[in-house]
């Protein structure tokens, strides 16, 4: 009997300690207050977290099944500069629909909290098919069993599981709303780059960078035919032709080094071009020197005069309605559609200079989905320079600055207002002034 009493006491105490811990640490934070279902956006608004769609939920199961979460964590800490690497720190409400959680414990690969929207689906399909095709130094496994045969263009066809997985990945971080517009600005994408003198003869260094980061899509000879290219709807830039979309120089001109620097830093939303803000500034300058060696244009021509972006005119209903008139007058709807969804009558016939189909931008997704950047100034610039190599012309000869701002304001009215990066005059001057 004596035994039993002591033993019961010991067992009882052991269980009580554990029970107390489970209650205090595991259950009390949960029971003690409402379970957070909302997120505070970068603009300070409180918005509800969005549950997973059926497809995303299925993709999450694939993510668990393939063990993605052993190498990719899903929380950004507010320390050690993680918010500059990946995006804003994680909030409780962002996880409202996660059962089980995918926090992870080891970062053998990068954190994926903010992965959604970084690059287009195409990039992920190529990357899951064989990561080393995209990132030569990667140690991520390949997932050939998520593909089934090849289509007429030689592109491996993703299975339902692969499609679901990418849908889930693209959902990650999106509960926080259009945070990326601010992030691109903070991560230096908008600053006016000044070419340091030291990099002028960095071609050899630049080649090293190119062969490690760019070669998968743009190809060893800069012909845009790297092994990844077959996966991509928006084809990689063909460097040997020296034609670039995003410039601050007039239509038909080669870009400045600063223009290339800006594209490399910010990436191109909605395409497979990632933002390379993690690369050192030097490496970015070096690789630009190397990219310029592919085309003789950079030897023979000099960039045209950089266009001037004047301070933004007030975004008033009148300006928007004047913009609507210009939208009709300039026949924007021909390609971008009356409703701005990019489904104009001639949309399906559009080809770029190399004969690849191109889709006119769908304006209803707003600023975070604009290729040239999320600020109104970026749109103004696109109107002023055109996107060389595509059917998008320059309107510099047809619209005066005020009219261009009116048109910017009308285009902005198609998308959600919080997706545009509105800069103060001071910031705009720092980023776009001259």
């Amino acid at each position: 009997m004596q035994n039993k009493r002591i033993d019961t006491f010991i067992m009882g105490m052991a269980i009580v300690f554990m029970g107390a811990a489970v209650f205090i640490m595991g259950l009390l934070p949960w029971l003690g207050r409402a379970h957070a279902m909302t997120v505070v956006t970068m603009d300070g608004k409180v918005v509800p977290a969005q549950p997973y769609t059926a497809l995303e939920a299925k993709g999450r199961k694939v993510y668990i099944r393939e063990g993605c979460w052993y190498c990719h964590s899903q929380y950004v800490r507010p320390v050690t500069g993680e918010d500059r690497r990946w995006g804003p720190p994680s909030q409780e409400g962002e996880y409202a629909y996660d059962v089980p959680h995918m926090f992870g414990t080891r970062r053998i690969g990068p954190d994926l909290t903010r992965e959604g929207g970084r690059v287009a689906d195409d990039w992920h399909f190529a990357h899951h098919f064989n990561p080393r095709m995209v990132v030569p130094d990667s140690i991520m496994p390949q997932f050939p069993w998520l593909y089934n045969g090849v289509d007429a263009n030689g592109r491996p066809v993703p299975t339902e599981d692969a499609v679901a997985l990418v849908a889930y990945i693209q959902k990650l971080g999106s509960n926080l709303g259009p945070w990326r517009k601010n992030f691109l600005y903070i991560s230096g994408g908008s600053a006016i780059p000044v070419v340091p003198a030291a990099v002028q003869d960095g071609v050899e260094e630049g080649k090293k960078v190119f062969m490690r980061r760019c070669v998968g899509c743009h190809g060893e000879t800069g012909d845009g035919k790297g092994p990844v290219a077959v996966f991509l709807a928006t084809k990689p830039r063909i460097f040997k032709d020296g034609i670039f979309k995003f410039r601050s120089t007039p239509s038909g001109s080669i870009p400045t080094d600063g223009d290339l620097y800006r594209t490399i830093t910010m990436g191109v939303r909605g395409t497979a071009m990632p933002n390379w803000h993690e690369l050192t500034e030097e490496d970015r300058w070096f690789v630009i020197q190397y990219i310029k060696t592919f085309s003789d244009r950079f030897k023979e021509e000099t960039p045209g005069d950089v266009i001037v972006i004047p301070p933004e005119a007030p975004n008033t209903p009148e300006s928007v309605s004047r913009g609507k008139g210009l939208y009709d007058q300039m026949k924007c709807a021909e390609c971008h559609g009356v409703d701005g969804t990019g489904n104009g009558p001639s949309a399906s016939t559009l080809r770029d200079n190399w004969g690849n189909p191109v889709a006119p931008r769908n304006f209803t997704h707003g600023g975070t989905d604009m290729k040239s950047g999320p600020a109104p100034q970026d749109m103004y610039k696109a109107f002023s320079t055109g996107l060389d190599g595509t059917p998008m012309p320059s309107y510099a000869d047809f619209l005066n600055p005020d009219q261009r701002w009116d048109l910017v304001h009308y285009v902005m009215s198609f998308g959600p207002p919080d997706t545009y990066l509105i800069l103060s005059p001071q910031q705009a001057g720092d980023s776009y002034g001259h």
């Binding site: 035994n3 039993k4 002591i6 033993d7 010991i10 067992m11 105490m13 052991a14 300690f17 554990m18 811990a21 489970v22 205090i24 640490m25 595991g26 949960w30 379970h35 957070a36 668990i64 099944r65 393939e66 063990g67 993605c68 979460w69 052993y70 190498c71 964590s73 929380y75 800490r77 507010p78 320390v79 050690t80 993680e82 690497r85 996880y95 409202a96 629909y97 996660d98 059962v99 089980p100 959680h101 995918m102 926090f103 992870g104 414990t105 080891r106 970062r107 053998i108 990561p131 990132v135 130094d137 990667s138 140690i139 991520m140 496994p141 390949q142 997932f143 069993w145 993690e278 050192t280």
Partner: protein, 470 residues
């Protein structure tokens, strides 16, 4: 059967056949699951190796390694040793001995099914509870029956003293019988959001802190005094260790997720209790080295003592590392790096699996009735583990500090991965060294069982209890 066979099958307390069978499977799993780890680690340097088959992809066999070492290698061997240790300490045979055989098969089925479920893609997504629920069922049933057997035996014991190993064994069984269903049934399906992470932090640390740690300590408190033929240094001190573990360990789990959106005050409690764990680590270490005092020469003679002491040194290092990496400042640097992997290997393998090896070196000759087949092999086993494992723990710690520093310095992510590749290669080599050691261990144990060289009479002590000095 020859007279030299089945020594303990006729022994009044221990069911030698039961111990032998559990240990047989334990040794086999101790060979297999670390080997899976080597395959996993080779993929760091050769990611396409075995990479085009879905069931051999990194993400599926990594949990097979982790869960296999916990539930296969460590736990199976531990149960084998429990069936030797508990009767000796209680003075009665195990209650429900026959069920022990059934439990062995249930347990093995669980481990095999579980590993299959991971490779086939049915895993739950709960680290250290990854097996599919249907694979957990046999494990949970077996565990509950085993818990009943152990507790019932302890309660009906003849020995008056409740020796510290019994505290730890009973604690480990009861805690885990509660924890296992929480982690495998409640967690993956019911609790949403950051609370899922919080409870998972607790679950995963209950696996290491309320299962592996007390189970391993039960072993060494039993085998170390036997190995060095000294009484335990202090039984009271060992109980201070037990109660401080029981009090502090349940709280520490949240330290896996510092700087996460889990409420900050729970993170703080977890950090404080993690630091308090220095108390049990200190008492345990003091007790082990105190017990060895005056008889260090037993290190030369006894492989049991060798492995006990090796494990104790790794225990001290691993636990100290664990407490420090729970600090916020330290974790900024080390979290998400191989520093954490170094810690988990130092504790799970370097300490607890090594201690089960110590126990096996003691019990296996006694349940087979044969003297150890080869001291040369055992010596090789010992030194291969010492050298390879020290290399592994060292290189992983170093890598963690290096990569953590690179991250803090905003180095591009892939560049930090590239910088780790040579170290990962060294880690693989050290893992292969460890596995060769384990292979020698397995061969040695097999030959001991089949080679009829009888155990010397003097080592056949019966009903021995390691009495404490105070």
């Amino acid at each position: 059967m020859a007279a030299s066979h089945g020594l303990l099958e006729n022994e009044p307390l221990v069911n030698g056949k039961l111990v032998k069978q559990w240990l047989f499977w334990g040794i086999l799993w101790t060979m297999i699951f670390p080997l899976v780890g080597v395959i996993v680690s080779i993929k760091f340097n050769y990611p396409d190796w075995l990479g085009r088959t879905s069931w051999l992809t990194w993400g599926r066999i990594r949990p097979m390694h982790v869960n296999g070492v916990i539930f296969g290698a460590f736990s199976t061997t531990f149960f084998g040793l429990v069936f030797y240790m508990v009767p000796k300490l209680t003075g009665i045979r195990m209650v429900g001995e026959k069920m022990g055989f059934w439990c062995l098969w249930l347990w093995n089925i669980g481990v095999v099914l579980g590993s299959y479920s991971l490779m086939a893609g049915y895993q739950k997504g709960i680290e250290a509870g990854d097996y599919a629920l249907w694979a957990d069922v046999p494990l949970i049933i077996a565990f509950i029956v085993l818990t009943y057997m152990v507790i019932a035996t302890i309660v009906q014991r003849k020995e008056k003293l409740l020796y510290v190993s019994l505290y730890y064994t009973a604690g480990a069984m009861v805690w885990t019988a509660i924890n296992f269903p929480i982690g495998n049934i409640l967690l993956p399906y019911w609790v949403p959001g950051v609370n899922n992470a919080a409870l998972h932090g607790l679950y995963i640390h209950y696996i290491v802190g309320l299962w592996i740690t007390p189970a391993g300590l039960a072993l060494i408190y039993f085998f170390l005094p036997l190995a060095c033929k000294n009484p335990l240094y202090s039984h009271k001190l060992s109980l201070v260790g037990f109660w401080s573990i029981a009090l502090f360990y349940p709280f520490v789990g949240i330290h896996h997720y510092l700087y996460s959106p889990i409420p900050n005050w729970t993170q703080t409690i977890a950090i404080v209790t993690s630091m308090m764990l220095i108390i049990p680590v200190w008492t345990v270490t003091q007790n082990f080295f105190g017990t060895m005092m005056g008889n260090w020469k037993s290190l030369q003679e006894s492989f049991v003592a060798k492995f006990c002491i090796m494990g104790s040194i790794f225990y001290f290092l691993g636990c100290f590392q664990g407490s420090t990496e729970a600090l916020r400042g330290m974790q900024q640097l080390t979290h998400f790096t191989d520093f954490v992997i170094s810690h988990s290997h130092l504790t799970i393998f370097g300490t607890f699996v090594v201690w089960t090896m110590a126990g096996t070196y003691y019990v296996w000759p006694r349940v087979t009735g044969h003297a150890l087949w080869s001291k040369t092999l055992a010596t090789w086993h010992f030194w291969l583990i010492v050298v390879s494992f020290s290399t592994m723990a060292g290189v992983l710690t170093l890598m963690g500090l290096l990569q953590g520093t690179m991250w803090m310095d905003s180095v591009e992510f892939v560049d930090t991965v590239v910088a780790m590749k040579p170290y990962w290669f060294i880690r693989t080599l050290s893992g292969i060294g460890m596995d060769i050691g384990i292979l020698l261990f397995m061969i040695n144990m097999y030959m001991t069982a089949v080679e009829p060289s009888p155990l010397p009479e003097m080592e056949r002590e019966k009903g021995f209890v390691p009495v404490a000095a105070d």
